[in-house]
Symmetry: D2
Subunit: 290 residues, 4 copies
Amino acid sequence: MNESIHNVDTGRLIVQGADRPGIVASVSGVLTRYGANIVSLDQSSSDPSGGRFFQRTVFHLPGLAARLPALQDALEVELGEELGLDFRLVEASRHKRAALFVSKMDHCLLDLLWRQRRGELPMTVRMVVSNHPELAGEVRQFGIPFFHVPVEKGNKAAAEKEQLNLVKGNVDLVVLARYMQILSGDFLDEVGVPVINIHHSFLPAFMGAGPYQRAKERGVKLVGATAHYVTEELDEGPIIEQDVIRVSHGESVRELQRKGADVERLVLSRAVAWHCEDRVIRDGNTTVVF
Amino acid sequence: MNESIHNVDTGRLIVQGADRPGIVASVSGVLTRYGANIVSLDQSSSDPSGGRFFQRTVFHLPGLAARLPALQDALEVELGEELGLDFRLVEASRHKRAALFVSKMDHCLLDLLWRQRRGELPMTVRMVVSNHPELAGEVRQFGIPFFHVPVEKGNKAAAEKEQLNLVKGNVDLVVLARYMQILSGDFLDEVGVPVINIHHSFLPAFMGAGPYQRAKERGVKLVGATAHYVTEELDEGPIIEQDVIRVSHGESVRELQRKGADVERLVLSRAVAWHCEDRVIRDGNTTVVF
Amino acid sequence: MNESIHNVDTGRLIVQGADRPGIVASVSGVLTRYGANIVSLDQSSSDPSGGRFFQRTVFHLPGLAARLPALQDALEVELGEELGLDFRLVEASRHKRAALFVSKMDHCLLDLLWRQRRGELPMTVRMVVSNHPELAGEVRQFGIPFFHVPVEKGNKAAAEKEQLNLVKGNVDLVVLARYMQILSGDFLDEVGVPVINIHHSFLPAFMGAGPYQRAKERGVKLVGATAHYVTEELDEGPIIEQDVIRVSHGESVRELQRKGADVERLVLSRAVAWHCEDRVIRDGNTTVVF
Amino acid sequence: MNESIHNVDTGRLIVQGADRPGIVASVSGVLTRYGANIVSLDQSSSDPSGGRFFQRTVFHLPGLAARLPALQDALEVELGEELGLDFRLVEASRHKRAALFVSKMDHCLLDLLWRQRRGELPMTVRMVVSNHPELAGEVRQFGIPFFHVPVEKGNKAAAEKEQLNLVKGNVDLVVLARYMQILSGDFLDEVGVPVINIHHSFLPAFMGAGPYQRAKERGVKLVGATAHYVTEELDEGPIIEQDVIRVSHGESVRELQRKGADVERLVLSRAVAWHCEDRVIRDGNTTVVF
């Protein structure tokens, strides 16, 4: 799942739009004419007649960096103008730049930082932003800047402005790694990059606050976590990944939280890796994950 | 998990009530004085101080059937009167008698009937009741009576009366194996035995009708099923068991239903087995499953 | 995962061979020229330079049955002669014809028969062959011929000859649904169609007989099952699917067998479905599963 | 699963031996006489007649520390002398002291250190011992001593002597957190405390070196990890915990290792937590895990 790292001549082409016959042939035709060898190709249609079309292609092209503009131009003509499709052309060796937002709980944050250091994630963490100061030392040991932006009653708009100053233009992605504040619609409009959140329940069960407490009261036998793109509708954004873990009657809310934390960090890390590898395509309020 | 079958001298004692020091000692003291050897014992307290106490004990006692009444009397004094506890004393060789309610989908029904025929479930299916005639032939091949009780607009009360006539006194358990009618509070009051339902979602997500359709629209990455005791509050009864299965963007609602059906039959069969082995203790709106 | 049923104009094209640039473009070019719309396409290479290439394409082509021969000819030229690739072109509406071999245990057999009856498997069961008579009645209730071919010491060659007479030319697939005899290399050579087996362990752990007994003795915490193509090397054939289930110290060998049976039937059914949907490509002693 | 932390008056009593009637009653009788309230009790017998008996009891006893010696004496008489049973009496608030052995891979080590820092494990890490120097900085940031004991051809006996000097008397447990050296039988005899290892395969599949490479070649669909007590027989010790994760044909050996690492750290952390909570009882070459 990690074909990007260490390969400077690997590219990715993501295509989506209204389905019609011949798209795959057009895409692969262009790539072949430009000397690219397709390494893997995943394609899906929501409906064979009149549905939406999604394709992710990974290809190898010697001298990719130099030849990218010409390929981009050709695709704009053949896919954009002629077929009316949206596409993105990406160099796999260019890692996504990310800001991680966190409050006090460190399990998701540390898992991302540690995977990045091990080279498991095609992502460069540019900064960590927190509404609390506690994790500063931990973050800086990884050699990453830590910014403390307190959010208190009444100063939320100002705090978001400060956050926007930090991240705008500097990152391609914001990851909420257990950031316990709700971001406003204005922030989401302004920030201009995808925002991924980890919610500590198996959405749509236990939307909102206190999901483990409510799971305990409801007597569920599994607790879960959901990574999703953030939208203005709280806990309603497109789901990227989910997983669950078994719990039993003998476990307290605190033990559910601990078990849940293991699921949260794994689900968030998977979602971030897939996003950074351009595997996730948004389709309305759902996602296609190749 | 199936210690009951083939062992005529095996008993089970289920105890629950307000926790206090010394209950385990009292229970095991009585059993030991009566010559029982404890085969397995599971015990749990909701809170060490002032919580609720739950215990399931499996014991071996030569000549159990003859000695049961005396043991029952002793327990009534020592557990009931002196400690204020509720208890149930059960011969493991006495299978629960069950009525299975079903509509048209056969996967949960067949799974229960197969398992019963193979001797996997300590349950005797006394009858199958359906609001549709389609599964009559299938059921009767297992040598089990099939009763067709149509439920139409306006005759629900009459239909429930007929159902009550069939099951009351004849069964210890009603299992709704994809029975697509809502049972009234009156029915539940009257029937006097536990009713287990399989709901085709991971409750509390997608309560109500059409859960797979809604799961598809919400873009979830796992679909699940929930077996629970039926209460007047629809889809709110105590959960016995849950499980999930992974789905992907490429699967239609129909494919979700198929995958979900595999989970439904497994979850329901487990829940029924555990109930019939007296492993499930209701605790308000939750359960303890030993 | 079941795109084949009910769609008479759906075709599948499976391609494999030495990887080289331009294969995807060639394949999709031919399909597009012949008017096919690609519904889904999965492609994989074992290594971007000098590896093996695998592709499964599902396409929609109005009037498929009539146009198949011309498409086959074109592919033979463009893929076979020019690119040196192997390919198979399949009408999705033509179900695989299967023979199920079974001994006494019915759980895998019934699961396949029942899924076939529900329309979940693009497979037509032509016959059930057993070395024991016990399951005849059960099989015939599904309207399927049952042939009893006893296998005793000394008559194995004769029995295999009889089995070959039954299946050769009549089926596209043999499924060993807990058939407890080892098939000879001669049988496998002669039969000329794939043979799928379900092994009652997580291969390569516990190869050979008595896996649950040995799993119990080894104290494993999960038991599993493996569906694989049968080769002359016992339990060494290419693996199609595997799964596991959690077990605990308190469970007897018999209980392990019961839990394992739930995994066996699920794993075998999945493997058979994937095979019948042409999702499984053999690659030496491994498989690619799209 | 973590009832020990923050509760100074919680004790645990682990009992094992030849099964006979009345053990549970005796144990709970003693505890009750000494004023203990049983919080949870798990009991299991390998066979109702003539099997082995296992019990884990968690109890609450005000002033536990002061009253422990008297309770110990009473248990020695009633369980040891009269019933011939082995038992261990433990204060839950006394954390196990552990030495972690590691080579170069940090994922298991860091997971244990993180969990310890968060208070998830009732364990105090006294030292980390490594045959390589690379992880010294990482470990010392947690405030834990790091000892570098190189192991080279010909000096293994001397290295083990140095390791024994470090750990003997100082720790209650040695955890091999991806320590890539085989410990000698002499070391195991001398060290006198349990040694837990994480093996990077689903034992008994792929015993020995290079399991992910061999898993890839065998084409398995799941890879796993196994935590076990170390014995002189390599990879044959009693299994504490196992888990697996799904892999696909498209993943390289390196990707299998990455996915496997997620399972390894989770399985090892669970096994260590359970051991430190006295949930694991060795029974010959298997374990009972309560």
